[in-house]
Subunit: 253 residues, 2 copies
DNA sequence: CGATGTGTTGACCGGGTTCAAACAATGTGG
DNA sequence: CCACATTGTTTGAACCCGGTCAACACATCG
């Protein structure tokens, strides 16, 4: 099965208007991929469902996504597991495994994806002569820490519906930063996976999406329940605000 | 107010028996503080409640804790806020701000704390000549990514009681890694702060602690409700397992 | 001493889970 | 090409964990 959707593959047309923060992000991503050309790397093409690496693998290479999208799955010793992160073009995979020297998560392609495998040792070596490479690595790790933090904030402070809306907003934002269209997106995940990622059950995700559609914040595509139409990304943020607006209003004694 | 408890301050006596993973962690922490002596750093002594830095501050220095303990507080644009992380001796603060160049969180001392302020530029410079220093930084960032991931897993997969138990286990583990006693610990946080960190309300934290005490997994000190007696850290992990054991048992049709 | 902040506990309520049924999409083999 | 199995999605109804509201205990402090 080759699922090359317009939303995440390399062939997508650029978004009509790119400006401000998304443009800066786009530059950063392009610069990342450009700088990495100087490092010996191996390109790997993965189809949806294929693993980039598995938890426990020795850390030989870090991976940077050239195109496509990848999820990481974290698992505890007692068998609880969770989708821990989603990654797109320009994102690094395996940064959390540098300390332990072994991968802590499974990484699985969600779509047709090309990753660049970069030997960690070679990267450090090249980084000694080219500080910009190291800065790249530090920035990537730092950004992921910020991202994780914001994810935790959403988990802890938003009700289920708003969490789903915020998830879609984040996905659309990631696409916008990469110059892809955000009005028609494909979530390459089942309801169960989304729910697992957001800390809720699949039925709750389904109901939340239905509610968002009922309120015209999103619309289901005629082609299937996986393809979503997002007329206005800002409206998703607005929905989140309204969700806690009613709570905030209740707090104003 | 000077709250120098035996649990987190530098004067605490070493734990009776240190072996295995905790010992390795202890070496890593000692080595961190030792290597950093070669970098120009400024020592700052902070009392409980005083900020190490605030969100929005320009990133000039990274901070490493020499003794004491610190919380970071993340805040969204719309005012939702959350305790994002807890840090002890040897931990780095501000790693998430390297990308943006500004602090993304408030960092506040929870106890009498000494931090070493290390100019980021100087660290990179020193790192060029001493790769071990860079490795130190990478390891610190990588470990924090892993830690955040595990925190998210707990948030998403554990019921409230188990989350509190796991929180205490994690705190005790952090102390054990630093050679401090874990049988008598002081949580320098209110129930509200703990709840905020764990994604639940203060009443739920209070009830969870009461239940843990009722089941003899912990005991309240006679000196106050902030000081806890943990007879057996493994029993906390056991409680977590039992919490989802009943669920797991229900799943075995 | 009252005042304020913190912790505990009870009673009630509601958002999200659980259980269940039906439907849609996709694939498989005859 | 269709019968059939499999997997994913939607929706309803009942239940329950954790939130909300409230009362009280207990510190510390001016």
């Amino acid at each position: 099965m080759i699922a090359t959707s317009a939303s995440t593959a390399h062939a997508a047309r650029p978004a009509p208007a790119v400006r401000g923060a998304p443009a800066a992000a786009r530059q950063r991503i392009d610069r990342t991929l450009e700088l990495l050309q100087r490092v010996p790397l191996t390109r790997r093409l993965l189809h949806a469902g294929e693993p980039v690496f598995r938890a426990g693998d020795a850390l030989a290479c870090l991976h940077v996504i050239h195109f496509g999208c990848v999820k990481t799955v974290n698992m505890s010793a007692d068998g609880r597991e969770q989708v821990a992160g989603l990654y797109f073009k320009g994102d690094w995979l395996g940064l959390d495994s540098i300390a332990a020297g072994r991968q802590g998560c499974d990484a699985v392609a969600l779509d047709l994806t090309e990753v660049w495998a970069i030997p960690y040792a070679a990267l450090l070596e090249a980084g000694a002569g080219e500080p910009a490479l190291l800065e790249l690595l530090h920035t990537a790790m730092s950004r992921e820490l910020s991202r994780d933090r914001d994810a935790m904030l959403s988990l802890c402070t938003l009700p289920a519906d708003a969490r789903v809306a915020d998830f879609l907003r984040g996905w659309a934002e990631a696409l916008a930063e990469r110059g892809l269209r955000t009005d028609q997106i494909t979530i390459h995940m089942t309801r169960a996976e989304i729910g697992n990622y957001l800390g809720m059950k699949l039925e709750t995700v389904s109901r939340a999406l239905s509610r968002l559609a009922r309120e015209k914040v999103i619309a289901f595509s005629e082609t299937g329940r996986r393809d979503l139409h997002i007329p206005d990304v800002a409206a998703l943020a607005g929905f989140v605000q309204r969700s806690l607006g009613v709570e905030a209003a209740a707090l104003v004694h």
